[in-house]
Symmetry: C2
Subunit: 222 residues, 2 copies
């Protein structure tokens, strides 16, 4: 391994450790010492890579934003034709699943909502804008049911998904796929135009058929 490779690896280890510490304790109480200790490097090595804790938080956010952009990419009205609502459903499932397993993504969203850190990359706002744009695309494509105002649809889906994200931080049952399915099972019949009835799947377009597996009841956080 060259010196550059070692440096890049150390840098990435520090970002991951910072994400873990921010995710667990929040920005303000996190110390550089706990981050460097978790990364297994010296304080000196940390300061070689990052001038301060804020620089680490920004880097966590930059990486988290790249992950989020990978999950919720640009809407292309042409390519997404007729499937904008299913794309919203599927993407919300993917996001919830990734929040459970990806510390950097989770820390990025955590920093966006952390009152002790002034976020420059607001993941939550990116998500809200993405949802809003998707529903505007759906409205233009005639995918929304008659009588549904696009601003109502945008408000509910943005608020409900942000709510799931917030609640899951304190109680991971909210991030269970079956809980996210409940959201769409209620909302889709109201949201979708008649010609889409029965064609949209609340559990996700690629999900296996819903079954109740004995011994693993769906969680009931509320």
């Amino acid at each position: 391994m060259t010196k550059q490779e070692r440096a890049a690896r150390t840098r990435h280890t520090l970002i991951r450790s910072a994400a873990e510490v921010f995710d667990q304790d929040g920005f303000a109480p996190s110390s550089l010492t706990s981050i460097s200790r978790r990364a297994g490097v010296s304080n000196g090595a940390l300061h070689f890579h990052f001038v301060n804790k804020g620089a680490l938080a920004e880097e966590v956010e930059v990486e988290a934003m790249a992950i989020l952009r990978g999950i919720a990419g640009p809407w292309r009205s042409a390519a997404e034709a007729d499937s904008s609502l299913q794309t919203l459903v599927d993407t919300s499932h993917t996001l919830v699943a990734r929040l459970q397993e990806d510390t950097i993504l989770r820390a990025g969203f955590g920093l966006s909502a952390d009152i002790t850190w002034k976020s420059r990359w607001d993941l939550r706002q990116y998500w809200v804008d993405w949802v809003g744009e998707g529903l505007s695309v759906a409205a233009r494509q005639g995918a929304l049911a008659e009588g549904v105002r696009p601003e109502d649809a945008r408000t509910v889906i943005a608020a409900a998904t942000v709510g799931l994200g917030a609640l899951g931080r304190a109680d991971p049952r909210w991030w269970d796929r079956r809980v996210c399915t409940r959201l769409w099972r209620l909302v889709l019949p109201r949201l979708a135009a008649d010609h889409l009835a029965g064609r949209l799947r609340a559990e996700g377009g690629d999900a296996p058929p819903e079954r109740e597996v004995p011994g693993t009841p769906a969680p009931d956080p509320v």
Copy 2:
């Protein structure tokens, strides 16, 4: 004013100042000095009333919880008969309005979601449980539309209202009454049983008829 009255007044001023400081900066970075300075009392007076910052946070939460219990009181299935859904609508409007004007309530919810403080009085969880219970009451009363699963209704309303609460902290447009109305305008037609159709008001049972007032368009946070 007696000595006891002065002490009680100072104590309350300190709690209010703590709420303002926590609400603005979060728990961890808030200093006792900034709280006592805002209250216009000495550090010594603060320490006479509260052993530490945690004791102040607990007191803010106790007061906030009392306010929340006043807004969202116990469900009495008998008294609430036939109006459980409208009670949910009206109470969510009241909560959003009070969040805008009442610093102690806002700080209480903020502390519930503050990763830098281990809350003993979780206002957000109280609200989620209250919403869940109200929808269970509605289900038992036959107020939910055929085919709507109570757990789906509970999930959507809990998540969407918590989402509004979270988003409003960063952008107060989310706490506009008309934005909360959008939520219910989308969800009520799906949620409510046929015999309630047209009888439930998304803008609140006691709200004046909805009008578009020229010059004050409804905000569009998404």
